[in-house]
Symmetry: C2
Subunit: 206 residues, 2 copies
DNA sequence: TACTGTGAACCTATTCACAGCA
DNA sequence: TGCTGTGAATAGGTTCACAGTA
């Protein structure tokens, strides 16, 4: 299996999820182009790196294509659960306790943390909530791979550094802080302010 | 002012916020590299497109640099408020009603929408909440520019299409649905599942 | 006939390497 | 001396154009 270019990879992730939404048997690159705004040739080239050849003169077989993408990118559902945790159980973090959010995805939240012990005791969820002091031990013991960071901005850097030290594989950052980590840990910045700022900057293309 | 390359733009957005966090007078490209993981020459090249020349043999003057980036990208704070709305007031949407999230940013949430009238009547917030039927009229009347989409996945596509028709300038998509829009409206996909899936795929670099 | 898959051309982004400046 | 700013070289990503195929 050869290296998949970065941009291609990120488009394929989206494509896999899009294909899951289409209720047809086959789809052409022209149709995908219409739905996504990517050019037809780019879509064909992206798919060609999978070396799966599930297309023909009436398009790609959707289910086969979707599975090939998932397999190639290692984002298969069902195979095994990927263990995650939520760090910070304020209004936003608590909102993510709703299990339905992760239904149909390979991700399973198996722990929550907050430095306010009141919250970890009062909030209800289908998985255990711990005081922040247990962060390292629980992550280690349970083999948690990814973290959703939803603490106040002022605590974000500290918590992120602690998470990084545990050897976690990635952080979804719902705080407004820009995280700076020693270790090369992938971070997705997905706070409302970050998202809106990116949209705003996109405006200024010319 | 010339066109700023896409990748450069997105890094500069992050850099501006990072500079806001540093409590020093000056910073070198080496220091920024340490904090962000970007290469030194890339950082210098990014900054050079601003044509601001605020650097010297002891680095860049932080405040001057930050302001130059904001001005160039049109993401200045304070100047004018940028009006936004929240569509969908379930647990996640309701969590975003907390005003402190947007403090210190140019964004101001000035309306919320939900198709469940109960919610719009019961929830408390510092701005008015409307039934979803008023979406178009309120956005038009108030001159709302950006939307945060937090409805259930099943309603996401419909709502996004309605938002797009109003001529809104961008959508921060907190739903798990991949939005397909006729109009070329920028979308930031920031749902937990999307964020985690991207992290997972990043793993598979080689 | 209507599509995919792909070599080749083109364009965009990043790094190298060093002149120039405080 | 220690940095920035930038031309030139390189690497990465996208489109074109068309042969190949069901």
């Amino acid at each position: 299996m050869k290296e998949i270019p970065e941009r291609t990879r990120s488009r394929l992730v989206t494509l896999a999820r899009l294909l899951g939404q289409i209720k047809e048997e086959r789809v052409t690159s022209a149709k995908i182009s219409l739905l996504t705004g990517w050019s037809e040739s780019l879509i064909r080239r992206d798919i060609s790196v999978l070396e799966v050849n599930c297309g023909s003169s009436n398009g790609y077989r959707i289910e086969e294509l979707r599975k090939a993408i998932c397999k190639n990118l290692g984002i298969e559902c069902g195979q095994k659960e990927i263990k995650c945790c939520i760090v910070g159980l304020g209004r936003l973090g608590a909102a993510l306790l709703e299990n339905s959010i992760f239904e149909g995805s390979p991700f399973k939240i198996i722990a929550g943390f907050d430095s306010n012990v009141n919250r970890t005791e009062v909030l209800r969820s289908s998985f255990p909530l711990h005081p922040a002091s247990m962060l390292e031990s629980v992550i280690q013991k349970e083999g948690i791979e990814y973290a959703i960071l939803a603490v106040p901005d002022t605590a974000a850097q500290d918590m992120a550094a602690r998470l990084a030290k545990t050897g976690i594989k990635g952080i979804a950052n719902y705080t407004g802080a820009v995280l700076t980590l020693q270790e090369e840990i992938p971070v997705q910045n997905v706070s409302p302010v970050t998202a809106l700022t990116n949209l705003l900057a996109e405006q200024r293309k010319n």
